[in-house]
Amino acid sequence: MDRMPAWADAVLVPLISILLAALLSALVILAIGESPVEALLLMVDGALMRSTGWGYTLYYATNFIFTGLCVAIAFHASLFNIGGEGQAMIGGLGVALVCLFIPFPHWSIALLVATGAAALFGAGWALIPAWLQARRGSHIVITTIMFNFIAAAVLNYVLVNLLRPAGAMDPATAPFPAATHLPSFHDMFATADNPLFRGSPANVSFFLAVLACLGVWLLIWRTRLGYEIRAMGFSESAARYAGISPVRITVITMLISGGLAGMMALNTTMGEAERLVMNATEGAGFIGIAVALMGRSHPLGVLLAALLFGFLYQGGAELALWTNIPRELITVIQALVILFTGALGNMVRVPLERMFVALRRRAS
């Protein structure tokens, strides 16, 4: 028998972990002389009480869904892809190239092609670490970290030396043509008397992100490829016995993972900035780690965790605006979530397991 029922492992463990993270975050806020309750109220007010706040929350959530799925799917193959940040940067390059150089008649076609480009570029950036892991046994954690730095250098070079319009100072591309601009939530849902989502960046790519969740769920639990990915994640030697090539699965999984990270750029680059800037990813690739861990690598969990982080991000911005709490508070919370749901999982799980074993003993 397993020591603990499946539901407890899936729900109770992450829930307690998050509560612990929240508790410590509250202590941090107290330590810098602010009230955690007021801070929370302010965050809720800024992120959830008005449609504009929601517009930001969902905008950030869109990023985190993509990067969360990126990390989650790699986790299923027992691969730790820390390279989402770099893959998203290069994905942005793909988006920028098609938006700048292909004359699109309509945003929908632009979105379709840009999605392909973002996924292709993101996947391409994951290919070398994937291949090195599969063929040469180079540790993918280290190589993807290295590739984040290399991506930053590449992007910096391209923006400064190649794509920067003549006379411009900041390292960024020219604005994309109007035909590539994606409809924002404001464009879609606002009416004359009800200006919903005004000024907020949430856009149609949010729906793409939700679709991606569904797609990843189907892929992992309902297809042959998903069966093989999970099998290899659990045991590489067993996979080989069953005729599942670890090389093939590693590469395919990382391509999908990188592709998902790359697609994040649709939201930031095409949906919001409408040009490619140097720091378009803003660390979302790393937040994906927290999101995937918290969501236990399940697309539904990723979706919920991404919404929570979207809320934290938008709420954190509000805090920075109205209080003395800098935005870096979010980084601290993110770190605590990773710590408790990822590295300290056993701290929560082991006592819980003991409790369930004791309960069962008493029952029998």
Binding site: M146, I289, P326, V332, A335, L339, G342, N346
Partner: protein
Amino acid sequence: MEFVTLLQVLDSTVRLAMPLLLACLAGLFSERAGIFDIGLEGKMLAAAFLSAAVAAVTGSVWLGLLAGIGASLLLSAIHGLASITFRGNQLISGVAINFLASGLTVLLAQDWFAEGGRTPSLMGAGRFESLTLPFAETLSTVPVLGPIYYELISGHSILVYVGFLMVPLTWWVLFRTRFGLRLRAVGEAPEAVDTAGVSVVGMRFAAVAICGVLCGLAGAYLATGLQAGFVREMTAGRGYIALAALIFAKWRPWHALWACLLFGLLQAVALRYQNLEIAGIPLPVQLMDALPYILTVVILAGFVGKAIPPRAGGQPYVKER
């Protein structure tokens, strides 16, 4: 290139290599004991902040150094708790520690000093001053050797000399002492150490603590030696470059020295020459920035000799028959 320019570049190489070297040796102790540590960056950053903060408040760089080491040790303790006591994923723990340091340093800097996430500039006894070695000034006129002694060897802060001494010391501890034998064994075959009646947990915590002290030195040097105060994200990926150097060095102390000097040289050159040209081909500064990472990937790929990490590295120790 002029001789003096060369000396200046090498001098700057030494300065830039030192935080890498200290962090690299820190990682060496940890990883040789089987605990992967991608949290070098965070520990350095925390140490940089707290050393600068305490030095700024007390005016004593030595108190600052102690505080920096303390900050780094605290993060080491978290890493040990997660990866040794609770057998968590060492990589994930490292990632968490990096973010924790990145967020907390700015948060506290803003709360304490309200200068936009930095500490006040350090002056006087709040900084590690350069030491002028005996006769450096008098000998500086001696051709060739004089300037080398004066410019390159003399004139660094004491932490630089400590850092260089750490290399032979690390080698000696690892390969000539009981502690070193057990430390290496615990990274290769913890079950052998356990059945021999030595505590695996104790050895690993000791290694992680040494790692914390060395990262503390590295961070303190950064904020109170190399620069005069803390600014946000001032480690700027040095922890990862140190990790790269560690792999480059194949977890060996002397090789670590050469690897860190090489990466320091790359940084020094990138700093001095924004646009370098070799044989008519322009080398963009971004390439120089990325070179340590590219080199590491090449090493990891095993095309230039295979880098084999300690056998039990990254694996939490679970008793098994």
